[in-house]
Amino acid sequence: MKLVSSGKDTYLYTNNKTVDPSKPSVVFIHGAGFDHSVWTLFARHFSRHDWNVIALDLPGHGRSEGPVLESIEQMASWTIELIDTLGLNNVALVGHSMGSLITLEASSRLGDRVTHTVLIGSISPMPVSEPILDATANKPGAAHSMLTSFGFSKQNLMGGNPNPGMWMVSESMRRYEDEAQSALDSDMRACNAYQRGLEAASEITAPTLMLHGDADRLTPLRATKPLQDALSNTRMDIIPGAGHSLMVEDPNHVLDQLKIHLL
C-alpha cells in the first residue's frame, strides 16, 4: 500500500491488507541499499496469522519517494511518524543490519508501545570500513561486489540456497544495483556515524531477540557483546554457518525464531 507520511509518498508492503490497529503489528525495517522485498516470506507468514505486517521502504528506497534520510536518528523519527500515521500503539519492530540500528533507536523512543524487538545481524557501534565507504561513494559496482562478497558466509557464497533454484549472490547484486547509488552511500555513512546504539539499547524494555550468523563477516559475532550487554531483556540466537544475509541464507531458521519470539 501507499500512503503519505512525513509529507512524502511512502510504500509499505502489507500483503494486500488494510492495517487494522486492533490487531498485533510487526514492522520490518530493511538494511542499507535494500527494500521491503527482503521480508516477503516472513511478512506473508505473520499476515496469515492475522498480524498487521508492515514491510516499509525507507525514503529513497524501493518504491518510497526520496530523498534518503541521512542519519539513523532521522530514519527512526520517520519510522515513528509512520507508526503514528497508521495509528498503531503496540508494534513489534524487526530490523536487519542498518534496519536494526533504526529499530534500536525507534524502540528506545517508543517505550512501551513496542511489544517485541528483533535485531538481525546487529552490532553497535556499526563501523563501516574506509574502502567500502570509498566504493559506495565512487565505485558503485565495486561496492556491490564487496558487500555481496562479505554479506554471506564463505560456505554460503557457493550456494545451497534453501529457496530452490535461486543464486543468492546475483540476487544480492541485483538488489544493490536496483537502488540509487546515493541511497547505499548515504545508508553506509549513517551506519558508520550512529553512536547512540548502546544508550538506546539500555532504554529498551521490550523483550529483544538478537539473531546472528556465526560466520558473519560484515558484523562479526564477536562484536555483538557490547549490544548484548546493553540490552536488559535479550536473547541471542546464533545461526550456524550463516553470514550477514540471514533472511536468504537461512530463512527457515529466521522464521522459526521470529515465531518463538513474537507468537
Partner: protein
C-alpha cells in the same frame, strides 16, 4: 556488466549450489527420486504453500537434485535463479508463456534451431502468439519488426546451423529501447564461451542435452533469469507487475524484486504446464557440467583443427565458422566470444545433395544422428532432418543449402577425426565425379 562471482567457472561448475548431503554426508549430489515431501506439521505445510518458507512440496515444482542444477547454472551464467525443464524446448515455451498472452508478438532471428522455428512459426500462432523472423544482423529490420504488442526478442548466441553471431549488445539495446527483454539461447556456447547477461541479455535458455551435459544420455532444458530487466518500468508485463489472481493477487515484482520473472515461471509455469525436469535427468546433467570447462576447451581446439582441415580441402565448397576470416561475423565473434564460438558448424560439399549423402555414409567415427554437443563427434544433413519443415526460402534465410552438412565436433583425438573426414570426403568426391 561483469558480475561479482565468488569463484571462477571451473570451480563453480564443480561446487556451485551443491553441498555435501546434510542427511548422509554424500559428496555427490544425491538423486532425490521422490514425488513429494513430508510436512513436519500443518502450519509448516501451510507456510510452504503460501510462500512463507522456501522448501519442497512436490517435484513438479521443485526438487533438491534439480535445485542444485538450477543454482549451478545460475551461478555460471550470473543469474538470480533458474528453472530446470523437461527439455530445451520446454525452457523456451516456459519463457514465452510466463510473459505473454494471446495477441503477444515475438521478434526472432531467422537463424534458429528447427524445433524453435516450429514452435514460433507454426505452433504458437494457434494460441494467438505470433512471430516475425528477421535477419538478426540487420538492426533496422529488427526495429521495423517490433510492434506495440511485441513482448520479446529471441535469438541464439550463434545461430543454428550457420553460426550467425548474435550481436547481443546491439540487439539488447534495441530490445531495451522498446521496453522488452532479450532472450538468448546459449546452447551452443555455454557459459564457458559467453555469458550473455554480461553483454545485455535478460534471459538465457539452454538445451542442457548438449554441451552442458556432454554425454548425450539425457534430455533437459534450463531457463535462467538475469534479474536485471525492469518489468515495472516497461509497463508491458502485467503478468509480473499487476496482481495475479492465480495466487491471491500476488504482485511478483512487488514481492520478489529482481526474482519476479523466475518466481512466476515456477509458481505458474511449472505448476500449470508441468514441463519439469526429473531429478535423475538433473543428476546426469550435473555430472556433465562438472567438466564443462575442460570439455569445452577441447571441443574448441578440436573444432579449430577440423575447420582448418576442411577449409583447405578441394572437395569442400565452403566452411561456415566464425574462426575463419571470410565468415561474415569473424570480427564480431573475435570481439564477443574470444574463447571460441562453438564446436557445431556447417560446411558445403561440392556435388550437392548426393555428395552430401555419400559423405555422411562414408564416415565411421562421426555418428549420423540428430543431436549436437555430445562428447562423441556427430554429423547430420539439416535440409532433410532438423530443418525439413522449413521451405526453401526459410532454409535460405537460415543459411542452409541442399548440400549443407552440420558437424558437432567431439572430444576424440583430432587426428582420428580428420582421418574419418578424409574417408567421407573421398566417398563424396566419387559421387561428385572427382574433385570439383
Amino acid at each position: 556488466m561483469t558480475d561479482y562471482s565468488p569463484a571462477e567457472l571451473d570451480t563453480l561448475a564443480l561446487h556451485a549450489g551443491g553441498k555435501p548431503d546434510p542427511a548422509t554426508g554424500a559428496r555427490a549430489t544425491p538423486i532425490y527420486q521422490t514425488a513429494s515431501y513430508c510436512f513436519p506439521d500443518s502450519d509448516y505445510a501451510a507456510a510452504l504453500f503460501n510462500m512463507e518458507r522456501p522448501g519442497h512440496v512436490y517435484s513438479r515444482l521443485s526438487n533438491p537434485t534439480t535445485a542444485v542444477l538450477e543454482e549451478r547454472i545460475s551461478a555460471l551464467e550470473g543469474g538470480v535463479g533458474a528453472i530446470a525443464t523437461a527439455s530445451g524446448q520446454a525452457a523456451l515455451q516456459l519463457a514465452i508463456m510466463t510473459i505473454m498472452d494471446a495477441g503477444s508478438h515475438i521478434v526472432a532471428s531467422s537463424a534458429l534451431y528447427g524445433g524453435s522455428h516450429n514452435l514460433l512459426a507454426y505452433t504458437l500462432p494457434r494460441f494467438g502468439i505470433t512471430t516475425t523472423f528477421v535477419d538478426a544482423r540487420d538492426e533496422d529490420a529488427i526495429r521495423a519488426a517490433i510492434r506495440p504488442e511485441t513482448r520479446l526478442i529471441f535469438g541464439e548466441t550463434v545461430g543454428n546451423p550457420g553460426l550467425d553471431v548474435l550481436n547481443i549488445p546491439v540487439v539488447s539495446r534495441i530490445a531495451h529501447d522498446n521496453g522488452i527483454p532479450l532472450l538468448v539461447d546459449s546452447t551452443f556456447t555455454t557459459p564457458y564461451l559467453v555469458r550473455p547477461f554480461e553483454l545485455g541479455a535478460d534471459l538465457v535458455m539452454h538445451s542442457a542435452t548438449k554441451f552442458l551435459s556432454g554425454h548425450g544420455i539425457v534430455i533437459g532444458g534450463l531457463l535462467v533469469d538475469s534479474g536485471r530487466f525492469d518489468w515495472d518500468a516497461s509497463g508491458k508485463f502485467p503478468q509480473l507487475s499487476e496482481p495475479y489472481k492465480g495466487f491471491h493477487n500476488l504482485v511478483f515484482t512487488e514481492e520478489f524484486g529482481p526474482a519476479a520473472f523466475i518466481s512466476r515461471a515456477r509458481k505458474e509455469g511449472l505448476r500449470d504446464f508441468g514441463a519439469c525436469q526429473s531429478p535423475t535427468s538433473a543428476f546426469y546433467i550435473l555430472q556433465g557440467m562438472e567438466t564443462l570447462g575442460v570439455r569445452m576447451e577441447k571441443h574448441v581446439s578440436n573444432t579449430r583443427a577440423v575447420v582448418e582441415f576442411l577449409d583447405s580441402h578441394d572437395a569442400v565448397a565452403g566452411v561456415a565458422h566464425p574462426d575463419l576470416p571470410d565468415h561474415t561475423d569473424h570480427a564480431l565473434a573475435s570481439d564477443l566470444y574470444p574463447k571460441g564460438t562453438s564446436a557445431v558448424f556447417t560446411f558445403a560439399i561440392k556435388g550437392g545433395r548426393e555428395a552430401g549423402i555419400a559423405f555422411v555414409n562414408g564416415l565411421n567415427l562421426f555418428s549420423h544422428l540428430a543431436n549436437v554437443g555430445d562428447a562423441k563427434s556427430l554429423v547430420i544433413h539439416p535440409a532433410s532432418t532438423t530443418h525439413f519443415r522449413m521451405d526453401e526460402a526459410a532454409l535460405a534465410a537460415a543459411g542452409i543449402g541442399e548440400g549443407t552438412i552440420r558437424l558437432s565436433v567431439g572430444l576424440e583425438d583430432p587426428k582420428d577425426l580428420i582421418a574419418d573426414l578424409k574417408a567421407g570426403l573421398r566417398a563424396a568426391e566419387k559421387v561428385a565425379g572427382g574433385r570439383g
